[in-house]
Symmetry: C2
Subunit: 113 residues, 2 copies
DNA sequence: GTGACATCTCAGCGATTGGTGAGATGTTCC
DNA sequence: GGAACATCTCACCAATCGCTGAGATGTCAC
């Protein structure tokens, strides 16, 4: 046999310590929004159409001021819009911004594959 | 004009207080895993193949014992598997469980649409 | 205007959680 | 065997976060 070494031998591990750190900021921000049961339920409910605060409060079992807090966070994140009811302006009706939701989905997809 | 009312009049709002509360537990659990930069980076890095702890630590800029903590959480959640290197068993190589990852993706998709 | 209703804002408290430090376990090399 | 290495475990502390309570704003009905 010549001096040629066998190809299938187990190779010594040489950890690569220069891997680039992936950019996951968007995905983490999206996940932080969803990591609360009330906010996740809001986004799930609004998937089927607009709802006012009292409806969302009843469906989630939360008090209305608490829901208002979560809705403010979703508004600041640009994920939902609010507009008063045409016939009775006491009610704020919320709907999703589907463009922003799509952005969340793509950021999460980049991490999960 | 007869007594027939016009059809296009704005309708009085009657909030539906009996909406069923959506089940978002799985999506919330998935989001809680991703809502940390280190864990999100780990899952993103393992998307391209197996890596040992020291590689993940270098790429994320975290200390190895801290990474070990996060990897334990991912293991307990069934999202990653560990196995020692064939040629040098000092190194624990981690890889994703793609079935579990797919479960996460579907749970999140149910909320985001 | 007055009262009732729907929503909003924000300070404060309690619970959860990520990073650290120190020590323990398992592996390789000499 | 002993030393160096790679990883793990866990108690502790500081920071974060969600719920509550109280008060403010805006709208409707009378």
């Amino acid at each position: 046999m010549s001096h040629a070494t066998r190809i299938e031998l187990p190779v010594l591990p040489e950890p690569r310590l220069d891997l680039p750190s992936p950019d996951v900021d968007e995905a983490v921000a999206a996940a932080a929004v969803l990591a609360d049961p009330t906010r996740a339920a809001i986004l799930r409910l609004l998937r089927d159409g607009r709802h006012c605060v009292c409806e969302l409060a009843a469906a989630t079992g939360q008090r209305e001021n608490n829901l208002s807090n979560h809705l403010a966070r979703l508004r600041d994140a640009g994920l939902v819009r609010a507009s008063r009811h045409e016939a009775n302006a006491r009610f704020q009706y919320y709907e999703r911004d589907e463009d922003a939701i799509r952005g969340m989905r793509e950021a999460l997809r980049d991490v999960l594959g």
